[in-house]
Amino acid sequence: MQAVRGYFRSPPAVIGLVLLLLVIAMAATADWLFPRDPLSLAGRPLVWPFQNSRFWLGTDNSGRDIAAQIFHGARISLLIGLVATAIAILIGIVVGAVAGYYGGTVDTILMRVAEAFQTLPNFLLLLVLVVVFGSTLATVTIAIGIVSWPAPARLTRAEFLSLRNREFVQAGRTLGMRDIRLIFGEILPNALPPVIVYASVVMAVAILLESALAFLRLSDPNVASWGNLIGLGRDVLRVQWYVSAIPGIAILVTVLAVSLVGQGLNDALNPRLKGR
């Protein structure tokens, strides 16, 4: 509870939370405010923002409502961000916990694999995965989760390495506890906070990765994605730059919100390290 109070005492953390709630609200109200398919033709192409009250953020090159795409895009970004992060963190925790707790050969093998993933540029691996499995919403999300697991795994492993030799873990062992209980009952609860905080970084990167894929037109073309719209706007960048500019701001705000919340959580959970 002290952590909650600590969180709300930090202005950046509160701003981050407000922005994040705003994005969530956009995602939640998208169907209600813009019931039509956001990718369907809505009006004249390339209407500037604030010119037509029906399209207050204007229309894109094919006459689709930009505001509708922004609201529906919030859903896609949050969905991909959350699911991909959950996948990455889950794999990361299991791999990191096993490697860090058991050490030895198991650790060597698992870390070799993690190293292989980190040696290969993650965006390149993402491209390969998209080539192989296609670019539907599900495959892109899973692919982003798969390329993102090594960092949380390393973090979890480092926590486990430092915690497994703590005296309270040794005490658990001298009491006769089994490995499973030591890993999940004793060590993991203590190792979790930094990993949870790191999840905000993974989520920020996941949102950025998806938008980059969409920008290159390698993500699912059948959903309204901010990155897609930026890619479309590129064709009319010289004059109608707003088509690219608006969704970019949406991405920036979302990623910023996630980062701020993550940092606020970090400061609230580790009060001693405040300001780092």
Partner: protein
């Protein structure tokens, strides 16, 4: 007599709002004469280190001097402008710290860091600086000063690093040296050498020394005068002999009474049969190397055989790196020994399978050193104690009832089972650790430095509790400690370890009273203030 070289006059230091008290120091008045060692002694939180930092004006953010004066060479350091204060630091008043490893920059050579003193306060040509550095390193009797000057901190031993720190502090012949627990992180034999060195150099140079310590043994060894601090105030001050022999203030008396004397109490009768027998136990570590070649081999425990009589207490003493902690962990199988056996009630613990060992844990339990690290911060105190019985099949309700009873037994309030570990003091937490170990009703308790992290008065209470429980419950104990005074008080038998081997063992009165092995003798000779506390 020319008058004091450093005078603290009713010094006050304020803590930031929200701290547990308003002032770290209040009305602290001290005077240090040239060529004198003034020991400031107190327990943690007494403000003794803050006194040192206040003189240097190196206080943490939010902490500031808010009253009184610090007189040095006719100036008040408390109000000196920062630039002038910098000229005093190092040149007029120098300081050495507790942790010689972390107090030196790991990325720069020793010679470079000592030479920096001349760069700051004197404008000497390079050649001359190198010569002076070498002379200083010789003066502090570092082996091979030429090489030491080129070495990085990690390449020297703890004692050598502290010598280098002293060389650095004394580089410019400061009139005052502040030593903040300079030997606390060192082994007892190294501590004796460093204390002798400080004493010798200080005598020759006529330096006034402000020596901060928590250890009355060290005080007895080195102090000319003593100031006792409690809660940020000086409660008693006077010549060392007077304070040590005839303490006036009740707090001083309490502190001195808590120092265990080195002489063992009369021996207790010991049972004939052994509850625990260790035979030829060995543990070897190999580090580094590639495919088995060029590996560094450390014999952490080498061919150790010991016997613990039922109901007795076997002390294992030694300096850091002697293998005593590894031995303790081998006995409870936190570490798998390479060779040998550990026999307890007909089972050889060293060769049990993991599952069999888990069942055996109810017969042998461990108490750990660190009262903060040994309790899972996310579990309530009662749960921590109840865990053991629950792992071994007890119901939650039974285990919790048992935890409450154990809290009573170790002198804790049974109502506090719902609190988290951080809500207890260090001594209380060590009692929780003890209750946890006792919850399984073990025959043997392995205690690894159980009182080393505690202040001396708390230490005395926990030792008394251990002795009481041992008598009441008939528990046998293996007691690991680096502190021979503690060993003398609680152990029936004692084994002295060095480099993984037991060099001497026997009844404690015999080993400490008539040591046979040269290392045991060196260890006993190194104890600061040997005679002190013996008559108490």
């Amino acid at each position: 007599m020319t008058g004091p070289v450093l005078t603290l006059d009713r010094l006050g230091v304020r803590l930031p709002p929200g701290a547990d008290r308003s002032h770290a120091l209040q009305d602290v008045s001290l005077a240090i004469q040239p060529g004198e060692i003034l020991c400031v002694v107190g327990e943690s939180g007494s403000g003794k280190s803050m006194t040192a930092n206040a003189v240097m004006r190196l206080l943490p953010v939010g902490v500031a001097i808010d009253g009184g004066r610090v007189l040095f060479e006719g100036r008040d350091l408390a109000v000196l402008p920062e630039a002038e204060m910098r000229a005093v630091r190092g040149a007029g008043v120098a300081m050495i710290f507790q942790e010689p490893m972390t107090a030196l920059n790991p990325l720069r050579t020793i010679g470079d860091q000592i030479g920096e003193m001349f760069g700051i306060h004197a404008d000497l040509p390079r050649q001359q600086v190198a010569t002076r550095v070498r002379a200083l390193l010789e003066e502090v009797r570092i082996p091979d000063p030429e090489r030491a000057a080129r070495a990085y901190p990690h390449e020297l031993s703890g004692g050598q690093r502290q010598r280098a720190m002293i060389a650095m502090a004394l580089a410019l012949d400061p009139r005052v040296l502040i030593a903040d627990e300079p030997t606390t992180a060192l082994d007892v034999t190294t501590q004796a050498q460093i204390l002798a060195l400080i004493r010798d150099l200080q005598r020759r140079k006529g330096t006034g020394v402000l020596f901060i310590t928590h250890d009355f043994g060290v005080v007895a060894e080195i102090a000319d005068r003593v100031a006792v601090m409690q809660h940020g105030r000086v409660v008693e001050e006077g010549p060392a002999a007077e304070i040590l022999q005839r303490p006036q203030h009740p707090y001083t008396r309490q502190l001195i009474a808590a120092v265990p004397p080195l002489r063992a109490p009369p021996p207790r009768p010991l049972a004939e049969d052994a509850v625990l027998t260790i035979r030829n136990l060995s543990k070897t570590y190999r580090t580094g190397g590639f495919l088995g070649r060029g590996a560094r081999v450390t014999h952490a425990v080498r061919d150790v055989s010991l016997r613990l009589p039922r109901g007795g207490t076997l002390g294992i003493v030694g300096e850091s790196g002697s293998g005593k902690s590894t031995l303790a962990r081998c006995i409870v199988r936190l570490i798998d020994p390479d060779q040998g056996s550990v026999e307890l009630g007909g089972a050889d613990l060293a060769h049990l399978s993991r599952a069999e060992m888990r069942r055996q844990t109810r017969h042998i339990q461990m108490v750990f050193q660190d009262p903060f690290g040994s309790l899972n911060p996310r579990r309530r105190a009662g749960e921590l104690v109840a865990q053991g019985p629950m792992v071994h099949g007890a119901s939650r309700a039974d285990a919790m009832a048992r935890a409450r009873a154990l809290f009573q037994l170790v002198g804790l309030d049974p109502a506090s089972v719902d609190r988290f570990p951080h809500e207890f003091s260090g001594g209380q937490r060590q009692r929780i650790g003890l209750a946890r170990a006792l919850a399984l009703e073990p025959q043997v308790l392995v205690a690894d430095e159980p009182v080393s992290a505690l202040d001396v008065s708390v230490q005395a209470q926990v030792l008394a509790l251990l002795a009481d429980l041992r008598a009441r419950l008939g528990i046998s104990m293996v007691f690991i400690t680096h502190d021979l005074r503690v060993a003398a008080q609680i152990c029936d038998l004692v084994a002295v370890m060095k480099d993984g081997e037991v060099v001497e063992e026997g009844p404690v009165a015999r080993v400490f009273g008539d040591p046979q092995h040269p290392y045991t003798r060196a260890l006993l000779d190194s104890i600061p203030g040997r005679g002190f506390g013996a008559g108490a």
